[in-house]
Symmetry: C2
Amino acid sequence: MPERFGRRIPEPTVVRLPLYQRVLHELAREEVATVSSAELAEACGVNAAKVRKDLSHFGSYGTRGTGYDVDYLLGQIQRELGIDRERAVVIAGMGHLGHALARSAGFVQSGFRIVGLFDVEPDTIGEVVAGVPVRDSSELTTACRSQNVAIGVITTPPTAAQDVCDRMAKGGVSAVLNFAPIVLVAPPSVHVRHVDFSAELQVLAFYQAHPDAAGRQEDHARAGR
Amino acid sequence: MPERFGRRIPEPTVVRLPLYQRVLHELAREEVATVSSAELAEACGVNAAKVRKDLSHFGSYGTRGTGYDVDYLLGQIQRELGIDRERAVVIAGMGHLGHALARSAGFVQSGFRIVGLFDVEPDTIGEVVAGVPVRDSSELTTACRSQNVAIGVITTPPTAAQDVCDRMAKGGVSAVLNFAPIVLVAPPSVHVRHVDFSAELQVLAFYQAHPDAAGRQEDHARAGR
DNA sequence: GCATGTGAAGCAGTTCACAGCG
DNA sequence: CGCTGTGAACTGCTTCACATGC
């Protein structure tokens, strides 16, 4: 077992945790009691050794000869992901994407609660989306501070994104999910992740233009069909 | 120079190409004539050596002592990304996210043209979004085939995603961008990329719960502020 | 002189393969 | 006997450092 605390988890492992979480959740709903690393790997489209190595970073949760107890493992992963405690989220930029995210089920499901929506358009301000009123972006910093916001989501146009990020950081937000196509500059205390649709499309386009250099398409299952 | 053709481009490099493309596009608009790898790296939040290595995979586009010609380099990258030719895209699942993507500027900008929208809800079918009528998902396969669709975008609920993916694959689509929280199984000829909002949030939550094991937050710039 | 292009070194994550244990 | 947990080997990306060339 790796020395607990001071434990340094590889980022690829962290990124796979939500995947394991979702699949285990599904198995739990199907009342499956135990899974082997091979079965879990199959369902996640990854390598079995990777699953075991990933899980081993957090301790020994399995039983040799049997596998992992689904409920217990699920609980451990959720604990690692900090899903037990609820986190306050704000969304800045209530265009189509902001609206879509505000109404999305995925947010609420995993302990994320939307406590604020922000925009600069007078027409949009005041509108109520998913039970939350849209406020003026100028209130962003104080709102984040007073409502103890953990995560800020940026769905503004790229020109406004840096400003909004600054306001969030100033309001004490320490994690930002950025959908604007721009490289954000943030203090080291703020963890930024970036999602870029058109970049994803361009990557797909690249592989279509270069079917030769496709490399292995990840180890995801892709049964003949 | 690496032997052209048979060239195998590392995936991390491919993923950075759209980033370089966007930043170069910006520089071109500002009428900047040349960039050094250091400047481009700074703007992209990556390491300068990485930029040079990435670009070197495609040939020698720079001038020693000077840097890279912005317009020329931009053109080369766009050619590599295959942005020159227009690609037909369909979106399946016209919920809030599907609507948002259909109206998104990012799609049209980079040579992606939406030629079809699909859903199963009778209320939604027939609606016209961004000038494109929503059709019944049962027409997906034939529509993909007849309109020579290159890329399929899946924004359906998770339960419908695999079915929709199968229909796309059957219709000759060779690239899929999946927003549904499910692991898709597709034939090897189909390249699948996955975007998962709530997974991203969970990753952020993990790092908040473990500020110790944050690792280096990428080499992205994060000036003191 | 200055910035590219690139071998070589370094490092991180993946995969193997098997000892250990239920 | 089966499956986990993990050292060791491997693979591949990143970073360094410098020769090369404008």
